[in-house]
């Protein structure tokens, strides 16, 4: 632990992040003069540090900037951070698999039967029970093969093509189309939003990790491990992945900022969080309607920048 808290910048970073997390967790019990969802219509767009009781001023809708910052920290810690983490994990695993296996990974044919059967049933194609039967057959064959330890015919799965294709599709579909297709008019729950964030941001991580993996898998120690008889799966997980995930160290803190931006864009399109949930991104976005209300932009920016600098200094190697 002493190593982690080594230098001064690190101590500061840890301190700041702890503060943000504590604020987020204690947001509802903090003695704030105003609640973040209640607009003070008579004092809308009030500058900070003036006579009024709003210390950091109000946004153009009359909401207290200080409360928005505090409750925005909660949203950031409970939504943005997990979303960034999930998309890094999903992207890392998928990108790593795509880079390592390429299109050559093979899957024994009972599993193919299983997958086709389940698909048949899920799509409710004619005679859905046929699908169940096919799936059952696949499962049975797989179990039998497992017991008798004999190898079955295997067909290749183009993992690389599948992952990259999915990533490309998600990147290229205009966000509005996606939004309308996924949540046309019904709005999203917090979990749904988390899923949507993960869905739209993992491709970037996947590309970075795949690119690194392409290089890592040609390194001598992988060959050495293979020669030593380590299984492919273990080589991937224990030898290749730690190196391939390297680019995410830099990318992860930056992706938090990207997600905050995405959150405000989605709100603008009419999906995102309900307007009574505070968020730093949305507070920053008010600069668009009121460029002269600098306070509603500067304060969340400072919070965000400090948090990202802290995250990135923690993610660096000592």
């Amino acid at each position: 632990m002493t190593r982690t808290f080594g230098s001064w910048p690190r101590k500061l970073a840890v301190g700041w992040l702890t503060l943000v997390v504590l604020t987020a967790l204690l947001a509802s019990v903090l003695p704030l003069p105003y609640s973040p969802g209640v607009p003070d219509l008579l004092n809308a767009s009030e500058p900070p540090f003036t006579s009024g009781s709003h210390w950091l001023g109000t946004d153009p809708q009359g909401r207290d900037v200080l409360s928005l910052l505090v409750f925005g920290a909660r949203t950031a810690v409970l939504l943005t951070l997990p979303a960034a983490l999930f998309s890094a994990i999903v992207g890392g695993v998928l990108g790593g698999a795509a880079g390592f296996c390429g299109n050559r990974a093979r899957v024994a044919f009972p599993y193919w039967l299983l997958a086709v059967g389940v698909m048949w049933w899920a799509l409710q194609l004619p005679l859905p029970m046929l699908g169940v039967a096919v799936a059952a057959l696949g499962a049975g064959l797989a179990a039998a093969a497992q017991l008798r330890e004999n190898t079955l015919a295997a067909w290749p799965v183009p993992i690389n093509a599948l992952v990259m294709g999915a990533a490309t599709t998600l990147d290229t579909i205009p966000r509005l189309v996606l939004v309308v297709a996924i949540a046309a008019g019904t709005g999203l729950s917090t979990t749904g939003l988390l899923a949507l964030f993960t869905l739209t941001t993992w491709p970037h991580a996947a590309r970075l990790v795949r690119a690194q993996m392409l290089r890592v898998r040609t390194l001598p120690f992988i060959e050495a491990a293979r020669a030593a008889g380590v299984t492919e799966y273990r080589i991937w997980l224990q030898h290749a992945m730690p190196h391939a995930l390297q680019p995410l160290r830099t990318a992860f803190p930056l992706s938090v900022a990207g997600l905050l931006g995405l959150e405000s864009t989605l709100s603008f399109l009419g999906i995102g969080l309900p307007p009574n949930v505070a968020s730093w991104g949305r507070l920053m976005a008010t600069v668009r309607v009121a460029p002269d209300a600098w306070w509603s932009f500067i304060f969340p920016s400072i919070m965000l920048i400090l948090s990202i600098i802290s995250l990135s200094s923690l993610s660096k190697k000592q």
């Binding site: 219509l41 809708q61 309900p274 307007p275």
Partner: protein
């Protein structure tokens, strides 16, 4: 790898400073530059799809009647005078128009009744983008030409209404000779085209006419208006030049609606309001209509901007309105709706969103319309105590199990109703968001649980139509000419444009009586009753009328800022050599 970032920036700065000399003051005298936030996309004369498209079409084409922006009335433009009205029996109206004898197309041909007839038929020609026009003008049953005078004709209309003389003259006239030189459409009568079944096999003559109409590039179809489209760069600008021989100027004195003062008009498309404001301050732009409230106030308070710009703010006919889905059992009674209506702090909303420039109202008729506005009513007050009392009166009580679980009531059949509301509004509008937030906070204090659902602008209308909402906050766009409330509140429009789902036999009768009223006095009596009815039944809560804000270069005269769209008179603007004295009202 030498050109690093800082280096390139320095290079750019140097280029910029060098070039500053080249782009010295441009010749700004001739053209008037107006900001539009969107490209008009198409100038379809039959049904201009947006306000910019309508304004652009208005320069190229002319209609029989035209809004006079200084008096805010419809006045004869292509027609010599208002039509004469003749009621036949109790279900037909005949309107006789006479086209001005000086009116000509660009090639010198006169504008005749056959052109009007052709335009009406084109509106019902299948395969053309004319569906809205069909809905709007299907009350005209036939055009009866005058055998003795090719400029004189009579429109025969179904039904009788005080508004027909106005609404019958509000479409742009298309030249028959340019689109249909062979007179293919003359073989059909208007009634035949109107009766054409939607899935009828395509008639070759109609297909030919439709193709010929669509072969014209946007704005290239000749019109009898004062301007010609001389350049259209998509998403950048549209330039209009005044015709050298414009027939309107032969009439002396030229009526207001036929005046065409600027020799060139440029409409520049600037999506972002801050950018437009900067351009206006720098003199790269002359007129900035619909300035956002805060930007307007900021400019008014800046001495540098005051020296260059003039500011105008007048009330408009657009009203911010909250509405209820009356089909929901919890919102089916007027008492609950009226109680909820008292949760809107209208005065505070006007202060916060419009900086005090809006106007509270009792109904959807503007207080500007002194004859018809019902001034004996008072706007709903912001009164939470009264609201809570009214809710109790309507049978709502707090659920006994938990304190913040909201209000419930038991109906006669023993079913339990809950008062939980979903408020929808267009996501990108901050005025609606502020109103919804304020309502949510106020309603929460009297125990009503409200959740907000900002909705993507495109799907908003469809969602309301499908009834997937409890309340909405939106702008209703009005005008001083038409009082036809059938689309909004009649039972005939249920499932379509009557999104509140409100209708009673009495309200249906009242709305029908308004459209049929024969004298203005009778009509205004009925309209006053209609406003009272809307306030007692409260299917909607009209909050306030929005202002129109226009900022323009101070050396412009003849702007005639007014309550109609687009907010000022484009064709009478002139640049005076001497800056005009401040005209800020």
């Amino acid at each position: 790898m030498k050109p690093t970032f800082s280096g390139s920036l320095l290079l750019f700065a140097a280029i910029a400073l060098l070039l500053q000399g080249c782009s010295s003051p441009e010749d700004k005298s001739s053209s008037i530059r107006v900001r539009w936030s969107h490209d008009p996309e198409t100038l379809n004369v039959l049904q201009p799809p947006s306000q910019p498209a309508f304004d652009a079409a208005n320069l190229i084409y002319t209609s029989l009647l035209h809004s006079n922006f200084s008096t805010e009335k419809l006045e004869p433009a292509l027609a010599e005078d208002y039509p004469t009205t003749q009621y036949i029996g109790d279900s037909l109206t005949r309107l006789s128009y006479h086209i001005r004898s000086v009116a000509t197309w660009d090639d010198g041909r006169p504008v005749l009744a056959t052109d009007v007839d052709f335009t009406l038929k084109l509106m019902f020609c299948p395969g053309l983008p004319n569906e809205t026009a069909q809905l709007e003008f299907d009350f005209i049953r036939a055009l009866i030409p005058d055998p003795n005078d090719p400029r004189h004709f009579t429109l025969e209309c179904r039904g009788q209404s005080l508004e027909y003389p106005q609404s019958s003259g509000e479409f742009f006239i298309v030249p028959e000779a340019a689109v249909d030189p062979k007179g293919l459409l003359r073989r059909f009568t208007l009634a035949e085209l109107q009766r054409l079944p939607p899935n009828a096999p395509a008639d070759s003559a109609l297909v030919r006419v439709a193709r010929q109409y669509q072969a014209f590039a946007p704005g290239a179809l000749p019109g009898c208006g004062p301007y010609q489209l001389s350049a259209w760069e998509k998403d950048r600008y549209l330039t209009f030049r005044r015709k050298e021989k414009w027939w309107g100027s032969k009439i002396q004195p030229t009526p207001f609606v036929l005046q065409a003062r600027p020799s060139q008009l440029d409409f520049v498309i600037i999506p972002d309001a801050s950018t437009a404001s900067l351009a206006l301050q720098r003199g790269d732009l002359d007129v900035f209509p619909q300035v956002p409230a805060r930007e307007f106030a900021r400019l008014q308070n800046s001495s540098a901007a005051r020296a260059k710009l003039a500011f105008y703010s007048v009330p408009s006919y657009d009203v911010v309105t909250a509405g209820f889905n009356t089909r929901r059992p919890a919102l089916a009674d007027a008492l609950t709706r009226k109680a909820l209506g008292r949760c809107f702090d209208t005065a505070g909303l006007i202060k916060a969103t419009q900086l005090g420039a809006g106007q509270q109202t009792v109904g959807i008729i503007s207080p500007l319309d002194r004859a018809n506005y019902n001034d004996s009513l008072a706007p709903l007050p912001f009164d939470l105590t009264a609201a809570a009392a009214m809710l109790r009166q309507a049978g709502w009580r707090r659920e006994s199990t938990a304190d913040d679980a909201g209000l419930v009531r038991t109906k006669a059949q023993g079913e339990l109703q809950r008062l939980r509301l979903v408020v929808r509004y267009r996501a990108e509008e901050s005025t609606f968001a502020t109103a919804a937030l304020q309502f949510q906070a106020a309603a929460a204090s009297i125990g009503v649980a409200v959740s907000l659902l900002p909705t993507e602008a495109g799907s908003f209308a469809a969602t309301l139509k499908s009834g997937d909402f409890d309340m909405y906050v939106r702008t209703l766009k009005g005008n001083p000419f038409m009082f036809n409330y059938v689309p909004l509140y009649h039972s005939r429009a249920l499932g379509q444009s009557n999104v509140t789902g409100f209708s009673t036999p009495a309200s249906d009768r009242l709305i029908d009586a308004i459209t049929r009223a024969r004298t203005p006095k009778r009509k205004s009596q009925l309209l006053r009753r209609f406003q009272t009815m809307l306030q007692t039944e409260a299917p909607i809560i009209p909050l306030f009328f929005l202002p129109t804000r226009v900022a323009a270069n101070r050396n412009l005269t003849g702007l005639h800022v007014n309550s109609l769209k687009p907010g000022f008179a484009i064709t009478t603007v002139e640049r005076s050599a001497v800056p005009s004295p401040t005209t800020t009202p």
